[in-house]
Amino acid sequence: MMLLTFWLITAFFALVLESLQLPDWVDWVTPSWLVLWACFWAFYRPMKNQIMGIAIMSLIADELMQFNLGSHMIAMIPSVFFILFFYNRIKMMSEFQKLLIVFFSTLWFYFALLGLSFQWSSFMSIQTCFSILATVTLWLIYQNVLQVLIGKVSKTSW
């Protein structure tokens, strides 16, 4: 129960951070918090109904960021499915290999959100490149912080 609450809290903050109103220059280095969140839970604490959870989260993200319903689902579900499908192999991978998976997940995320909506100029922009780099860079910190917090949460019982 505690872990589920933590899952919901991290989901809430991922959405808040994703839709945060920031000055233009900060937008250049804003990571994709949704990818970080989805990858983290798929790598370290997968749920039985992880894909369903991601689907619901995607619909909320679509409404929050004014995308057509289903846009974030296409952007997030294939990556999460891939991680869950090869979970046992990925679990044994090094941090660098996991980082590569995060990189490709982020790349797919932006491709599906922008490229599939024919916003090619936005997808091929330097800003998207910076955002992908920011996501990959932040992954190392993000996963460490959340693992520590999960460790504390798991020890606590209601």
Partner: protein, 299 residues
């Protein structure tokens, strides 16, 4: 006594390939249906109950920054501001007294002509919560929604002119498409001579395009454009913009007219939603007293 086994939802369960196909198909169906039809609007509306609190939290830092200046405004500055506002208020009261007489006369004339044209609009204030400015969309989210009787296509103004119209209504918030949005089109006319055209957004905040103006039409730099009221979506008479430049080429049928919007599309924090338009008959039906009431208020 047998104990019910505890369900652990956090355990790895290898997903079946079919789930990827099902969810991808579902996503594609959602995307197409949402893009081409309004059938998913009830679902969108329901999701807004979850989204609105998230949006309030995510907009909090930006609103705090906006309010930062107000918190630390000096006493001297407040006094100056107060004095300026008092002067402005006094001037407006004088102007209003003059307008009231014209309004009364106008009502009688319209009544005599049997005209049902709109004369008065009710306005209510809304705060901008979120701004989305990009080449493809120019929108703002305001803190008034279904619960405040906001409806789709409702015109939105600021103190200087027309800002846009409500395009989507949620429980307590609404999405407003600005006149600078590429999809926005506003029927307008030139105040000086009544030449009509359609003002289209260009995806750039301070640049609008006036369409369908013949090359020989009398439109010059500095002309003020107001809403023409055609199409009955926007009320007549609100300032929309000023002509910035006019380019006439010999081989084209229409002139290229660039307009600067009157409203501060990317600076204002508050907007006015036009509630409804009252016709001359409705205004007179409300009894002859309101004008006197207005005068008392002004006094």
């Amino acid at each position: 006594m047998s104990r019910k086994p505890q369900r652990n939802i956090f355990s790895h369960n290898k997903p079946r390939g079919i789930s990827l196909i099902v969810f991808t198909l579902l996503a594609l169906i959602f995307k197409s249906v949402d893009y081409f039809t309004p059938y998913l609007s009830p679902l969108s509306y329901g999701i807004q109950y979850v989204v609105e609190p998230i949006r309030l939290v995510s907009d909090f830092p930006q609103r705090s920054i906006n309010n930062f200046d107000n918190w630390f405004m000096s006493r001297q500055h407040l006094r100056e501001n107060n004095k300026k506002l008092s002067e402005e208020n006094a001037n407006l009261k004088v102007q209003m007294l003059k307008t009231l007489n014209i309004k009364r006369e106008n009502q009688r004339l319209r009544e005599a002509l049997g005209s049902s044209a709109a004369l008065s609009d009710e306005l209510f204030l809304a705060e901008i919560l979120n701004v989305k400015m990009s080449q493809t969309s120019q929108e703002v989210i305001v803190n008034k929604g279904d619960s405040h009787q906001v409806h789709e296509n409702q015109p939105v103004l600021d103190s200087l002119g027309l800002m846009g119209q409500v395009v989507e209504v949620w429980p307590t918030q609404s999405r407003v498409m600005l006149i600078s949005d590429e999809q926005s089109e506003v029927p307008v006319e030139v105040v000086r001579n009544g030449v009509r055209g359609v003002l289209k957004g260009d995806g750039i905040v301070n640049r609008l395009l006036l369409l369908y103006i013949p090359v020989e039409a009398d439109v010059v730099q500095g002309d003020l454009l107001i809403t023409s009221g055609l199409g009955q979506r926007f009320p007549k008479g609100y300032p929309v913009g000023k002509v910035e430049s006019v380019r006439r080429s010999s081989n084209g049928a229409f002139a290229q007219v660039v307009v600067t919007p009157s409203a501060l599309l990317n600076q204002t924090n508050y907007v006015l939603l036009v509630e409804k338009q009252k016709t001359a008959t409705e205004l007179l039906d409300e009894s002859a007293e309101p004008v006197e009431d207005d005068e008392q208020e002004v006094k």
